[in-house]
Symmetry: C2
Subunit: 205 residues, 2 copies
Amino acid sequence: MNQQYPSALLEKAVGEFSKLPGIGRKTAMRLVLHLLRQDQPTVEAFGNSIITLKREVKYCKVCHNISDTEICQICANPQRDASLVCVVENIRDVMAVEATQQYKGLYHVLGGVISPMDGVGPSDLQIDSLVHRVGEGGVREVVLALSTTMEGDTTNFYIYRKLEKMDVKLSVIARGISVGDELEYADEVTLGRSIVNRTPFTGTV
Amino acid sequence: MNQQYPSALLEKAVGEFSKLPGIGRKTAMRLVLHLLRQDQPTVEAFGNSIITLKREVKYCKVCHNISDTEICQICANPQRDASLVCVVENIRDVMAVEATQQYKGLYHVLGGVISPMDGVGPSDLQIDSLVHRVGEGGVREVVLALSTTMEGDTTNFYIYRKLEKMDVKLSVIARGISVGDELEYADEVTLGRSIVNRTPFTGTV
């Protein structure tokens, strides 16, 4: 359907919204018209929230997590175990691990995983800063918590090769049967790996 | 999952995005992090597009369609047949009819349909202004193009009662078999109505 917009401003707003991932022009139109029905302060609050975030957000100098301050709340918290560093891909993974309330160490946000297909190499990630962080001492264990994909495994191995000569224990989160799953429906690979739980990492999982 | 946001600014932005219809907190997070990966001008363009739209958009004084000017492009176009007025619910319907390229008259955007369940009465809609518009003369035919629902039919009837004493022809868009549908799969009501095509409106369709 070749849409003719009644307003250039409307067309621009719909264009901007439809650039978002998973948002087509029809959904964008619905969202824009929804906002247009709200009052002026609500719309300003919406638009400014993302502009302010982009302008003022910082990334923690230690773990590269999003933060309002130079050092994030987690790294600055003296209650947390600074000798334990969990390596994750992005801040959503930090939030996912935090939500479990099972982890009391710090994080290191890589910013992705090594993926030659997407043009992401080790230098695009915060791997050097992880090595530097471990090299400075005080880190007893690095827990690898990346996606259980080919790219995640590749990144795990790359980090292993970078850290194996250093005095630090490397571990990887357990791959296994999801809580609530029945054994008979689990795939063989997962079931095979479920025997081990947070095993010392020796290059392969 | 009780999420703890690493940044108050991030939480605010996610909160604003998750107010949008059909956008939950997980999707909101995904959208916000997507925008955060864009450069500063891109994010400012996004945020300002909706703020500018809300601040500067006008509604056509004649048909109440969204417009950049006091009188919209359609109403201001001398090529269009000003004696023909198509009554629609909202501007998306204007765009849908425009996209057919089958209509050369003007529009009247009601802003919804009568729906007591949602607290929408005739006074919440641009019905009085339609009656006023017809009363000023020059309108030969009013085409009702509302949703084919109970609320749409109610609104059609309300408008019919308001206009029946006036010197104007009332018609309603044809309800019938969708193009591409096979007759045997059409419901009986639709099939029954498909015999008529844009019939003179006499209170019932």
